[in-house]
Amino acid sequence: MKTTATKAAPVNAEVLDLVRRRRKLVKLSLGACAHCALCAESCFKYRNSGQDPTYTPSYKAINTIGKIVKRRGRLSPGEYEKVRELAFDKCVLCMRCRCPVGVDLPYLISLARSACREVGIERGYLEGKNA
């Protein structure tokens, strides 16, 4: 789904429900994250992207589900597009990211994917823009 609009979309009821159910869990997980970036090198996408910091697993979790939960789902289509890029294009959910403090990063990113699907955003297979 390609969109350039930046106006905040009306909050989707399903996203709001997901945020309500997982809010404490996401806050607890991301609260435990020490922002050490030691997870970066466990991500093959990071290693093969010229060490682009946006591929760091914790960066992806914080800027997808972290942002969705913090803003209670009130993201503009443009912001959801950025979430889509991080959660679908920059992560393949191979479950190999290693966090020294034990944060379940793949689970957090999978939550972000769930939120995206609820607002009709999926991986853009046919657009030739997968990283």
């Binding site: 435990a32 030691l38 090198e41 020294p100 403090v101 034990g102 379940d104």
Partner: protein, 265 residues
């Protein structure tokens, strides 16, 4: 003109007595709250007998396939199993397992960061605990009993170890500033907690060498230390004591529970 009774209950007396107890109480209660919250949010698949969220009841074989021992056995390739046969000799088997452990740890990927990190966190706890002056305050000042003390190390050594802590803290700060992957994650709060950790050690170093206003720096050191203790459960600093719980109970390929625990539905 001083207030009546000010000398009897100065800031110094407050800092070494009641404020210290308040800081410790806040730390203990806050930490207990975090553990309870964590326990409520995570639950064992084995205990519930189902995959949370999916609503699917697992049979005994499926549950067994999730157990730690089974997963570890599955992880071993045929070649590994052949190497671990007894006829290979105990020394080469230990070396093989050692190499495997190192390869899978942060020590292999980030040896400098891992070594500095371990040293920093151990010293952060041990230096204040094993300092003679702190032991005197703890056991005599709080009336816990004369003659009682934790093991102590000489103060000149502690002075140098304080510098080691500050040097590693500076390394962490530089890492946050100059490494793009760390800079992308860094917030103002991360810098603030780094400063909060460094502040009691800087003031301790100045107080030990009696630089500037000794009394003022000493009281400042005590207050900063108490602020640090109280802030641990409620800030990013919590990753340090919380590490044991997060590593033990969160599911993951490399966690101690080896994906045998999942978040509750």
């Amino acid at each position: 003109m001083s207030l009546p009774g000010f000398e009897l209950f100065s800031l110094y007396d407050a800092a070494r007595g009641p404020l210290f107890l308040v800081a410790c109480s806040v730390f203990i209660l806050g930490f207990a709250w975090r553990i309870l919250r964590f326990a409520r949010l995570s639950s064992s698949i084995a205990a519930r007998g189902r995959v949370p969220g999916a609503g699917v009841r697992l049979d005994a074989a499926a549950l067994d396939s999730l157990s730690l021992a089974t997963r570890r056995a599955q992880d071993r390739s045929e070649a590994d199993r052949a190497f671990l046969l007894p006829d290979k000799g105990i020394v080469s088997r230990i070396l093989f397992l050692g190499r495997r452990f190192l390869r899978n740890s942060n020590l292999a990927g980030n040896p400098v960061m891992t070594a500095f990190s371990l040293a920093f966190h151990f010293l952060l706890v041990l230096v204040p605990l094993l300092l003679p002056a702190h032991n005197i305050l703890l056991f005599l000042g709080l009336g816990l009993g004369a003659g009682l003390s934790l093991p102590v190390l000489p103060e000149p050594l502690m002075d140098r170890l304080t510098l080691v802590i500050l040097a590693i803290g500076l390394f962490f700060a530089l890492r946050r500033i100059f490494l793009p992957r760390v800079r992308a994650l860094t917030t103002g709060g991360d810098i603030a907690v780094l400063l909060l950790v460094a502040a009691p050690f800087v003031s301790a170093y100045l107080a030990y060498h009696q630089a500037w206003d000794y009394h003022g720096i000493l009281v400042g050191h005590m207050l900063l230390g108490e602020l640090l203790i109280a802030a641990i459960p409620f800030t990013k600093l919590g990753h340090m004591p919380f590490l044991l719980f997060s590593r033990l109970f969160m599911a993951g390929e490399r966690s101690a529970r080896h994906a045998s625990r999942r978040w509750a539905a």
